[in-house]
Amino acid sequence: MKKLFFYIEKCLACRTCEMVCCVGHSLNKDLFKDVRENSISPARLKIFSAKAKNYPLACRHCDDPKCVVACMSAALKKDEKTGQVLHDKDKCVGCWMCVMACPYGAIRLDRKEKIPLRCDLCIDIGEPRCAKNCPVKAIIWEEEAEIAKKK
């Protein structure tokens, strides 16, 4: 199963990941057009800094997802086959319980749409844009087993 990993030693906080995340989830998927038409999506991933290190933070698609347990309308569910935590927009009531329950603080708020914003691993293109576009390869998208070997 492929997972997103972050090398915090490498992250320079350039925020390219945030930018491509915003553009990739926007209406036109075009920076200039979406900025002009005010149709840009908020980022599902954010860079935080602490103690001189930078931390890209996004949904970890946990093995034991607290958000899924907390979700009262069953809008969030874990897909056992892909390992992804999926969100059903139609079922979501916007109660933000998932946001409260997430131990990583990785769920962000879309106040306009009143839904939680979470990393969807860019299923539309089959590869997370943040990993694909990270200029220093601080974000990687690889098989779990491969990562374990490198450690």
């Binding site: 491509v20 553009v23 920076l31 200039f32 900025v35 908020p42």
Partner: protein
């Protein structure tokens, strides 16, 4: 930052062939490096990254969640305006330094300090000298030239007053410039003030910053650049239309190939002369070559093309590909738009690269410093070096694409006069009348660079075809002109088949092609002066902003392009860029450049990446101006987007 890389055009046939060769040989080119840089930083692209001081670097969150101000308190408006003004200052500085070098050479020639340059166009010398109030009656050319050059050099450092060549503009423009404080006082002064006002804590009002930005750009268009054009004409003669050839196929397998690359024509002119010297040709023959081919890249190519009809090997994106032919014995560079990647590619072949300007050195290049005093001797040394290198060429590594295209370059403001009206009744009347009675819709300038982020040159030809189909007369300069030449659009015969009926009638009647090549990028000033002549001729309003004209740089990339665009906007024209310069992070700045500025100068910006849409924006603007002038409806209306 679009996700679909695949739809990107890969260049003309010769370019594609050489790109494949690069891939086979494992040589990186500009396209590979562009891919490595994707995605380009969104903060830089939107103009909201500031690194002017050590409080930062700072960034504004364009999506309103994070920081809305830098550490000093500057917001997106201030930061994008400051950045833009610095871009304009850099572009202006480049053109103005180019003009300065030409002026200094004219002075040396006039004072007899170099025997290699002389006044070639006494006619133009008189015209410019009179504008600068230099006495011309009963004086030798050298005396006039010396006084003129000194006056111009003083104008670079002038502190107060107005630029002399800016007086060429119609009264209406001059009034606007004086009203809004846009009239340039000196050339260097405006660049310096732009730098000082963009320092931390100086000018923070985006509109006030743009006032200085426009004044600086005008010091380029009606100052440095125009001086570059006019004095080059005095030194090397006014261009006239002639036949030329373009694309990598101009390189010869059995000849010594010497390429000149860069911008300032001072050394390239000498190289052309040295390369045509029978003694040199004999030497080349002794080394086993059948002759010497001197060809150009970028705007140096345009300079020797419009004045001497020398062939063009390629435009900006083809500089690396020229080396990949393995047939270039020597590449000579001066400054501007020269890729520092060239020496690495040359190392794969026998090619020697020589830098010549004390202002522009490149790691890995041999340096032979140019000076005006010994210009001819240096040129001979370089040509000899190329000849000596010919036997080192590895024939097995030579691969020259077959593609060449004919073109007819060299139309100047003065030449169009003669062509339109004949030598004895020089006039813009046929052009103005063509516009007034609805045969010609208007005039569009398609200029600027070629860019791997865009369509690697292809968008120029698409745009130009659409414009001439809609009876818009097109004028071109720089790498854009070369891109269209490669697409076969710069010969009268080829272009006329794409031209609309009305435009075709005029072109056939007076004998001009519908797409006119005016020269290099400093020669964009020829477009300004031609527009002034149109206003003077009458019937099309009182100012440049009344004319049914528009400009575009579909694949712009350099700061020079930003400066050029701004001097046209400040002079009253609509300018369309294929992608926005970095202001989209500030809604106020975006509104200022695309709307508000029109209320001041009559000109404005538009950003549109699709060539057909770009044509539509330009045609709508031209039609708006036609309507305001109460001109007759177009005789043959085609409709934008209709098939030819």
């Amino acid at each position: 930052m679009s996700e679909n890389q695949a739809k990107k055009f890969k260049g003309d046939d010769a370019t594609q062939q050489m790109r494949q060769r690069a891939e086979q040989m494992g040589i990186e080119t500009v396209w590979d490096r562009e891919e490595m840089q994707e995605p380009h930083c969104g903060f830089g692209t939107l103009g909201i990254c500031c690194k002017n001081c050590n409080l930062g670097p700072c960034r504004i969150d364009p999506f309103g969640e994070g920081a809305s101000q830098g550490v000093c308190g500057a917001d997106a408006d201030t930061i994008s305006a400051r950045n833009l003004v610095r871009h304009i200052a850099a572009g202006t500085a480049c053109h103005s330094d180019h003009g300065r070098e030409i002026t200094e050479t004219l002075l040396m020639a006039a004072e007899g300090k170099t025997k290699f340059y002389r006044v070639t166009s006494a006619e133009k010398l008189k015209v410019v000298a009179e504008e600068y109030k230099v006495k011309t009656e009963n004086r030798k050319n050298e005396e006039i030239a010396a006084d003129l050059a000194k006056k111009i050099l003083a104008e670079y450092g002038q502190q107060e007053g107005e630029l002399v060549l800016a007086q060429r503009a119609p009264e209406k423009q001059k009034k606007i410039w004086r009203k809004y404080n846009l009239m340039p006082r000196g050339i260097d002064r405006e660049v310096v003030e732009s730098m000082s006002r963009t320092h931390i804590g100086v000018d923070n009002d985006y509109q006030n910053l743009m006032q200085q930005g426009m004044r600086t750009a005008l010091a380029d268009g009606w100052g440095g650049s125009m001086i570059g054009t006019e004095l080059s004409d005095i030194l090397f003669g006014k261009p006239t239309p002639q036949r030329g050839k373009v694309n990598l196929g101009v390189l010869k397998e059995d000849q010594v190939n010497l390429l000149v690359h860069g911008h300032v024509p001072l050394l390239s002119e000498m190289i052309c002369e040295a390369g045509s010297d029978p003694e040199m040709i004999a030497l080349a023959k002794k080394k086993g070559a059948t002759g010497i081919t001197i060809a150009g890249l970028c705007c140096t190519a345009n300079e020797i093309l419009v004045r001497r009809g020398f062939p063009v090997a390629g435009n900006f994106l083809q500089q690396e590909l020229a080396l990949l032919t393995g047939a270039v014995d020597l590449l000579l560079v001066d400054l501007q738009c020269i890729m520092p990647s060239l020496p690495e590619i040359a190392n794969c072949f026998h090619t020697k690269i020589v830098s010549t300007s004390p202002k522009a050195r490149f790691p890995g290049m041999e340096h032979i410093e140019f000076n005006e005093k010994d210009a001819g001797i240096i040129a001979q040394e370089i040509v000899r070096k190329a000849i000596d290198n010919f036997p080192n060429r590895d024939k097995a590594k030579v691969c020259i694409p077959q593609e060449t295209n004919d073109l007819m370059p060299g139309f100047t403001t003065e030449y169009v006069f003669k062509m339109l009206g004949g030598t004895y009744r020089s006039s813009y009347k046929p052009l103005n009348e063509g516009i007034i009675n609805g045969r010609i819709r208007g005039v569009a300038a398609i200029v600027g660079c070629d860019n791997p982020k865009a369509e690697s040159g292809e968008s120029h030809a698409k745009l130009v075809k659409e414009l001439i189909k809609n009876d818009v007369l097109v004028v071109q300069t720089g790498c854009s002109a070369l891109a269209c030449a490669k697409a076969g659009l710069l010969t009268p015969e080829a272009a006329l088949q794409y031209a609309g009926k009305g435009l075709k009638e005029i072109c056939e009647a007076v004998g001009i092609p519908p797409v006119l090549h005016l020269g290099s990028c400093v020669d964009n000033t020829r477009i300004l002066t031609a527009c002034c002549e149109m206003v003077k001729e009458g019937g099309l309003g009182e100012g440049l902003d009344d004319l049914p004209i528009a400009g575009a740089a579909p694949e712009w990339m350099s700061e020079k392009a930003i400066a050029i665009g701004w001097y046209f906007v400040a002079s009253g024209a609509l300018v369309v860029f294929g992608s926005p310069f970095p202001v989209y992070g500030s809604p106020n700045m975006t509104k200022f450049v695309t709307e508000d500025v029109e209320k001041m100068t009559g000109g404005k910006w538009a950003f549109e990446s699709d060539p057909l849409q770009m044509a539509k924006v330009m045609i709508e603007h031209i039609d708006k101006k036609r309507k305001a002038l109460n001109l007759r409806p177009m005789i043959y209306e085609v409709g934008v987007g209709a098939s030819a």
